[in-house]
Symmetry: C2
Subunit: 522 residues, 2 copies
């Protein structure tokens, strides 16, 4: 058994049975091993950001790490920004990065780089296999790390000789299943934190729950709803969450507004901010003369539980402490009629169409930025669904994450909602969706600008943009044609310019299986 | 004057008057400054790899560093692999990477990352501006580094507050031209190295010159041609060179073959390998049981001059030492007739068409890999041109580098020759070519496979690929449609399937101005 076979075997034994891949020469033994381990589903991406972003989406929806297969330092580098987003979303993954054979590194061949240096900023766990006999042990550690709470980005560097040489010790030849734990689970929340939060809620002073992590999943939101019903506390989720479970029949939480002024206004009356798997609320960017911390400076921040502590246990204990266990949470109720919009396309009409047409159990991967302003609030009572957001802020998040979510959940419809500027960072994901027949509907809002930058330009006090500055935010001239781009990668695509056309195209796409793209011209 | 204005002013004063950019919120003051400094040409890329790759191509053709403008750690990360290629090609550039305002970093906002850690592996010079008063000094250092021999990748991290705050000291308000030197020039080559090389050439033992860096430019090749004519030495260039000046009337050098076995065979009879701005020849990848060093193990390696030493001075001294100054070099002679190919498209017919139709002074950016196997040799006597190659091995090199080369040389036709697999890594460059009206003809060889990997699979001893392995090298299913992808980004595009069609499309594109794309279906 060579090192590559040991690795694929160990990954499978540890429940890692999907590999998103963009391999090169140094990974050919791993690729060869796939023929001998057909249980490993290997999904090709034509750019590494698709590969690592897909692993993020896969983790968010399956709760399991996928592996990635990347080619040397530059291949990893192309995947770094999507790994950054995954790190911020606490998605685990096991990156396998090929390297030159150990003896070849001294010669500074073209693809030699500071691979460990490239990996370090985006790896919680990072090791280099020096020999085939190292690999099973490394793989176990990597999988355990990726399954920990919070989950880790684990990166294993696999030099060519470690992959192709035969292992010497018998130990590594068999299954390694017995060695693989399910990863560290959550630790228990701290009683003092629960007591402090309960005291705040019972103080009669205005209090707000601020939710992140798994606190925005359905079961946790039930408890949040009980606490709110009993205590009258306000509740916000982070502006961006990894995965919010929401929709009709569920308890929902508004997102803290993105603009600093709005967020400060929303929080200013609260004396207590109780965070649940979230840090204290902080601005996405810094602005001259504006605060980074968004809560009132006088407010007390209480951390109910961190990302390594069990949010269900913490919320249950808190609900009990405030006598809310039998309270009735306010759940979203889907209106009997949800009329489809007519006329022009704008953030409101788009949101109305989405709210009416989201199918049961849909997965929405949202990078819609300015055009999607109303979408979250107005879909709160749509059919039950998951909403995945960009927690790392690196643009181009949605198409790869949607790809991975669709691999994780083949029976669910995935909507990838993105802007034209955003989608251009990772459009190669469409090809993987076409190849794998993934059930992803990509909605591209074509406003032909980096519209968020036009807002931010004023926000940071840069004044009014002149022609040179405007040219850096205008992505028309020429206009991107998303029907051609989608079809060029094998995805059936249509263009719509009215609310009626949008609703019709969306309804059709929801009724059909497989990838499609709707370009929404604004 | 705020920090951003000081920076743009300093860049201009230092001769850096092109900025390839993909800015975000934290770079808005730099963008605002562009309106006040219209001499800075700012070129937008829709993905950061386009931005940094374009800076590489710009440097190769202009000899001057461009600046880049990138958004925080993830934005830089997306540009890292193209910077890697630029580093290996010894292209200088000045990267300006925005960061959060200093006080905001403590709060771990979504886009906070280990930015310095991401920059370090691809930066020879790396500093962070802590205040507006730092910036002029940093800019001077960065530009000097980027103009050194060998040129440096200089990365300046510009936090928001350093960009938007006003400088306090008067010194930084004026022009800083006087402080900017032209960068360190070459140092003189070492006499001992010249003597050793001359002794080898005069020994009567078989000797080979191995060229890289500026030794493959026209004037240096003249001297190489004289030395070869006088001494009978063999000559090879590196398999990949940053910029080879070649074509009719010039002295040419064959590239050392890419396959290790072929390279070893080509070098095995030479007792002396004289390197000129090149390291000793080394394999691109490692293979089981094959050497990394390609020269005969008994051969003596003589470094005539390094990348920091003057190759013209070294070659002149060597030519004098071997009595070759008046020798007549063998120059390429363009045949009276260069017939256009007929029938099927294959590496040979493609090369024939290129050889016949390359216009005077063309710039060829070559990432054609397997389909381009014959192109270099068969174009040796085409009209004079430059040939730019991928020295870092990170795929997706050609479209961005062609973009930057066209910005540097608006009066020259640029041919970007690439495979379908390669082009998918950086296809966003087509949009920048369309927007800027750049005179780039992109030729995409569509073989619907990672064909190089099919070669490498056997080469690394991985046996015969089974269905799972083959799926990782097959990029058909669905086929990419490059006519749609090109047109989707505003580039007029055609598909050709025969040699006649290819020649006709190529001739038409050579006769017209502006971007176009030819998909060559193989």
């Amino acid at each position: 058994m060579n090192g590559a076979e040991i690795l694929v075997n160990a990954l499978l034994s540890g429940g890692v049975d999907v590999c998103f891949a963009n391999p090169g020469t140094s990974e050919m033994h791993f690729v060869a091993a796939l023929d001998r381990y057909p249980k490993m589903r290997c999904v090709l991406g034509l750019f590494e950001g698709v590969v690592t972003g897909a692993a993020d989406g896969y983790f968010r929806m399956s709760g399991k790490p996928a592996s990635t297969l990347l080619h040397l330092g530059p291949g990893l580098a192309n995947g770094v920004s999507a790994i950054h987003n995954a790190m911020k979303a606490n998605s685990g993954m096991v990156n396998v990065v090929g390297d030159h054979a150990s003896w070849h590194l001294a010669y500074d061949a073209p693809l030699t780089s500071d691979l460990d240096g490239i990996a370090r900023p985006v790896s919680h766990w990072l090791k280099r296999a020096h020999a085939p006999d190292d690999i099973a042990r490394h793989a176990v550690e990597a999988i355990e790390a990726a399954r920990s709470r919070p989950p880790a980005i684990a990166t294993l560097i696999l030099p060519g000789d470690a992959a192709w040489n035969e292992a010497e010790t018998a130990f590594h030849h068999g299954e390694v299943k017995g060695e693989i734990s399910l990863g560290r689970g959550y630790s228990a929340p701290q009683q003092a934190a629960i007591d402090a939060a309960a005291k705040a809620l019972k103080s009669g002073e205005p209090s707000v729950l601020f939710l992140g992590g798994e606190a925005v999943r359905g079961p946790a939101m039930e408890l949040v709803g009980k606490i709110v019903a009993k205590t009258g506390a306000q509740v916000f989720s982070q502006t961006f969450c990894a995965r919010a479970e929401r929709g009709a029949g569920r308890v929902s939480a508004a997102r803290l507004p993105y603009p600093v002024d709005h967020a400060v206004a929303a929080l200013k009356d609260y004396r207590h901010v109780i965070t649940v798997q979230a840090a204290a609320p902080v601005g996405f960017f810094a602005y001259p003369g504006k605060p980074s911390l968004l809560a009132d400076p006088e407010a007390e921040i209480h951390s109910l539980c961190s990302l390594s502590e069990d949010p269900m246990q913490a919320l249950e204990a808190l609900a009990e402490a405030v006598g809310a266990l039998n309270a009735e949470p306010k759940r979203e109720i889907r209106p009997a009629e949800m009329p489809l919009p007519t006329g022009g396309l704008n953030p409101l009409s788009i949101a109305q169409a989405l709210a009416a047409l989201l199918p049961d159990n849909a997965i929405v991967v949202d990078e819609s930025i300015t055009t999607g302003l109303n979408s979250y609030a107005l879909t709160a009572a749509a059919k039950p669904h998951d909403w995945l957001m960009n927690m790392g802020g690196s643009i181009g998040f949605a198409p790869p994450v949607a790809t991975g979510a669709a691999v994780a959940c083949p029976d669910r419809k995935v909507l990838c909602i993105t802007g034209d500027g955003s989608a251009m960072y990772s459009l190669q994901a469409l090809w993987t969706q076409a190849r794998e027949g993934l059930d992803v509907t990509t909605i591209v809002y074509s406003n032909r600008t980096y519209q968020i930058l036009q807002m931010e330009f004023a926000g940071v006090g840069a004044g009014k943009p002149g022609p040179s500055a405007r040219a850096m935010m205008d992505i028309g001239n020429p206009d991107l044609d998303w029907v051609k781009l989608g079809e060029g990668m094998g995805v059936p695509s249509v263009k719509v310019t009215t609310a009626e056309e949008f609703s019709a195209a969306l309804a059709r796409s929801m009724a059909e299986q497989g990838p499609s793209l709707i370009e929404v011209v604004l």
